[in-house]
Symmetry: C2
Subunit: 597 residues, 2 copies
């Protein structure tokens, strides 16, 4: 079955979950009429469905490969990418001065959503290129911007993100890549980087690597890391391409999924001829890289939700077409499509509810980003920044963990056919798996949440959010709609429990860090169920008409899925509360020899 | 890192979770001394570790393939299988009269556990062959037994299980394969069967297919299905091989995992020359097949737990060797193995606890089988039969669902390396995925649980089990060990909640079946967490010495993992209780067109 961008769902969640009105209120965007939003989504959907989606099975079977030291991408990627650039999709949310269209990042995220649902491995380079534009807008020099932004904004060139080295992955303090000043403002870069998505490819003329490295006298640890812009081909002052810059691909990984996305081992300066320029200040590289990283984290959450959508559509089509079994207890007569079986619908609605909740969360996260970066009101800006900070680890971790579950159910709905590669269900399961790992594993996200994010204002970011969740729960309870009122009850109970574990976590991180860290991932899970549910239910409430019912069948469906979330998914948060507070003793080290005996 | 059969863990769980004493008390087995059990497990472990485990990565890369109409298996499979037969492993639990060793099926299951952990795709044929022996012992004619059992018991020939056809998978009522009586007691078989594991291979001289088919005048539906024994090569009266029996492989599937296990499309009687003999009575084929199916279901649960073990060992070794990061807040100095991070241990202990709980459940299930089939005490036999019936869907579904989680965590512990195929972590994730599907999807298991099993004695099987769980919880509370006492509290609370959802489910299945079926899988999950936890904690309690402490470090580790289960896993049952009772309204059909909009 062919993927179809869920344009109406996206539009609905942009308006009612993310709250596009708050983005409009920034005054930074000329026209964000319903019609404009709808027409952009429809056009993106058309491109995704017709041009990109057909590449998805091809990308799995004919993935990126290394040939004579160059990466050759999946047949069709180059042509589709050219159309993407030509249509201006890459620059949607960037300043007009650099060739962009000055639309909200939230809307650009919805476009990215459409593309990821169509073919995940096609999108990774775009995400990193856009993240690099954000980093250069924030920290690049005038010269860097002038030379690179016109090409990166449009996507004529792509960019990469170079952090990891074999001995430095989740912990960058041991990073060894070196940058020696040449004397003319440039640096000679030497070293090896791993996990470089789209580190090489054949889709554009140049590739711009943002590389973390150490200058000769840099202090040890993460305070001695600087960020460099290192192009594959040097760029002349007039913007034209110059010499090869001694940037090589040492290998590409054979991966569980995303075969279309080349994951490269990059070698810089093998011949001593690799030049880079400093981005931002020396030894402040992590700060610049985190602009890129934070953007990428929301994108990763989005990627996962999008693959969940594709997996859902695929499984739904199968459930409509596959005829097997009859109502319980009926032994003879005509058989039914398996969609008619309650447990099959339970699986499908779980997939849809998790996908929509993840989408709602990611969109809301990006709407906060838009307000935080573009509002003319300093107070609104500050509040939105706090929300953006809080939601980023949740968007990334919740959406990626839930996409593993969603795509797993996608296989299960297919029965035996799900285990057969030809069906396509397994590809979603394989492709999305890395989302829980890259751009910081979900364990790292949890440390960010309980350490840095709860650490701000003694949990103020979380408590303010819980105030909003509780107000939302009250509105649901007062809605006059039976299902949503019940959802409000459940949400109020879960918000209360989350308030308690938040208080526990704040104390633990101050007084018994190991206990806090033991509960960090369960806490992040608990928070994720509440936060994503909040945004999903907020949208469902908006779907209610004045008489306590939805005005059309589509909106009734929205409400039903949100109510399903409250009935079937949200109660998991209850089971997590006790786990969060289990304490460090529960994971006291055991001699590994006694664990395999 | 090399797989190592956890011989001591197995022995411990056989004695204290499964309760080998009850098996001894049947009086059906000559010698089940500790020494004998230990030496069998050690020898099986040696074979698994040294001969079978090295084949696992090979099986993934050089899977079974079809060549000139014959399946060629992974290099090394044939030789390893010959050793398996030679050592007598296949007949461990079968009568000496047929070449077996008259040992308990529980012990044979532990041997199977060792082999599955070493290389899952190698084991599928053995499981089906043993299941076929059970079916022929129960329903085969004297002639069938005489001709086939000597070869099947030893594994010199293998067997397959033929149920599914393209239009008849989970629902067999539409089965079309035909069997026409020839007049001499044999039948001409024609038709196509799919999902036939080891339907063809090059490891033995003959393959015996147990095939469901319809005779010409059979009634419609499942009451018109008979079971036939259909060899690849006919068997002469003296037991020697005769002519080719017109059994062909029409194709093999390209699967997500288990590449070493050929999954065949079988075509019977293309030339009208395929002969079979009836097993059991005409039109009673499902009854005979269910002997095979029930055995296979426990084996599938075991397979999943075994792969969980292998995944755990692999991840633990990585966590000991991979040095990354320092204690929270420490910025410089020596880095630590990631095993030192609380969240990494949380993941590893989750893997180990889920694996051990699944193993405990499967072993206990098979111990009930042994008593049910071999006891000299009619009452003990009847009670054990009830327990075997109740536990079978739980062993199959709980272990397979939890193995998906375990192997998923196995990838996560590896970080980025987990997504790279070379590492091997992803193979476990791929290989085990089908366990939740084959031998009846886990949704089918749930229908068996809430329909057939709860339907017996108005829930009496479940209530009696809950009595035992509550007695166990009381013993834990009285143990004087802090962790186990807390586990007893939690277990008592979950048993109470499960009693409530059981009562709800019984009513629902009588009065509002759709509501019951909507809650069936969540109920099965809830029951699984309680049941597996019960057996795990029962063993942990046995590890306690007289003074309320364990007598050695190994046993302390057992107790710690069981207590971890109570702290980190069992609370999920709390979150499931509300989901079970959500009702049919929560999955009321939505027009699929409104779900992709």
């Amino acid at each position: 079955m062919a993927y179809r961008t869920p344009v109406r769902d996206m539009h609905f969640l942009l308006e009612h979950a993310a709250g596009l009105d708050a983005v409009r209120a920034t005054g930074a965007f000329d026209d964000l009429s319903d019609d404009l939003v709808a027409s952009i989504l429809e056009e993106a959907g058309r491109f995704a469905d017709e041009v990109v989606a057909p590449l998805n099975p091809v990308s799995d079977r004919q993935g990126a490969r290394l040939e004579n030291g160059q990466v050759v991408t999946t047949p069709g990627f180059k042509e589709a990418y050219a159309q993407y650039v030509e249509a201006g999709w890459n620059g949607l949310a960037f300043p007009e001065a650099w060739g962009g269209q000055n639309l909200p990042a939230t809307l650009a995220l919805a476009v990215f959503d459409a593309l990821c649902g169509a073919c995940l491995s096609f999108t990774m380079g775009m995400s990193l290129t856009q993240a690099a534009v954000k980093a250069l807008l924030a920290h690049g020099s005038d010269e860097q911007r002038t030379l690179y932004l016109p090409k990166l904004t449009t996507g004529e060139w792509t960019a990469t993100m170079n952090l990891s080295e074999p001995q430095a992955g989740s912990d960058l303090s041991n990073l060894k890549c070196r940058a020696e000043p040449v004397g003319d403002g440039t640096y000679k870069i030497t070293g090896t980087k791993i996990w470089i998505s789209y580190g090489d490819h054949d889709m554009t003329q140049n590739i711009c690597h943002l590389v973390l490295a150490r200058t000769p006298d840099a202090p040890e640890g993460t305070r001695g890391i600087s960020m460099f812009l290192v192009p594959k081909y040097r760029v002349n002052e007039d913007g034209s391409l110059g010499d090869f810059n001694d940037v090589r691909v040492a290998g590409i990984e054979e991966k569980l999924g995303q075969h279309g996305s080349p994951t490269c081992v990059m070698s810089y300066g093998d011949a001593g001829e690799c030049l880079g320029t400093l981005v931002g200040e020396e030894n402040a590289g992590l700060k610049s890289m985190f602009v890129m990283m934070n953007a990428a984290r929301i994108d990763v959450g989005m990627q996962a939700a999008s693959v969940g959508e594709a997996s859902f559509q695929h499984a739904l089509a199968y459930a409509q077409g596959r005829v097997q079994g009859r109502p319980y207890g009926v032994k003879t007569g005509q058989q039914n499509p398996i969609y008619d079986h309650p447990d099959v619908r339970r699986m499908l609605f779980t997939m849809k509810a998790l996908t929509e909740a993840s989408r709602a969360l990611c969109y809301a996260n990006m709407a906060a980003y838009d307000v935080a970066h573009r509002s003319s009101d300093a107070e609104a800006m500050a509040q939105a920044k706090r929300r953006e900070e809080l939601l980023t680890p949740l968007s990334k971790a919740f959406s990626s963990d839930r996409a593993i579950e969603t795509t797993n159910l996608g296989i299960q709905v297919h029965g035996g056919m799900g285990f057969v590669e030809e069906t396509g269900a397994a590809q979603f399961y394989r492709d999305c798996r890395v989302a829980a790992i890259y751009e910081g594993t979900n364990g790292i996200q949890a440390i960010d949440l309980v350490g840095r994010k709860l650490g701000m204002e003694e949990g103020g970011l979380a408590y303010d959010f819980l105030d909003e969740v509780e107000a939302g729960a009250e509105a649901l309870r007062a809605s006059g709609h039976e299902g949503l009122a019940a959802a409000g009850e459940r949400m109020a109970a879960e918000a209360k429990r989350l308030r308690e574990t938040t208080a526990w976590m704040l104390t633990a991180m101050r007084t018994e860090t190991e206990a806090g860290l033991t509960g960090a991932v369960p806490y992040q899970d608990q928070f994720g169920y509440v936060a994503a549910g909040h945004y999903l239910l907020r949208a469902a409430l908006a779907a209610l008409g004045e008489k306590g019912g939805a005005v059309d069948a589509y909106l009734e469906g929205r409400i039903a899925i949100a109510a399903f979330y409250a009935d079937h998914i949200l109660p998991r948060a209850e089971g997590l509360a006790a786990v969060v507070t289990a304490g460090a003793g529960s994971v006291a080290p055991i001699d590994p020899e006694l664990l395999i005996a």
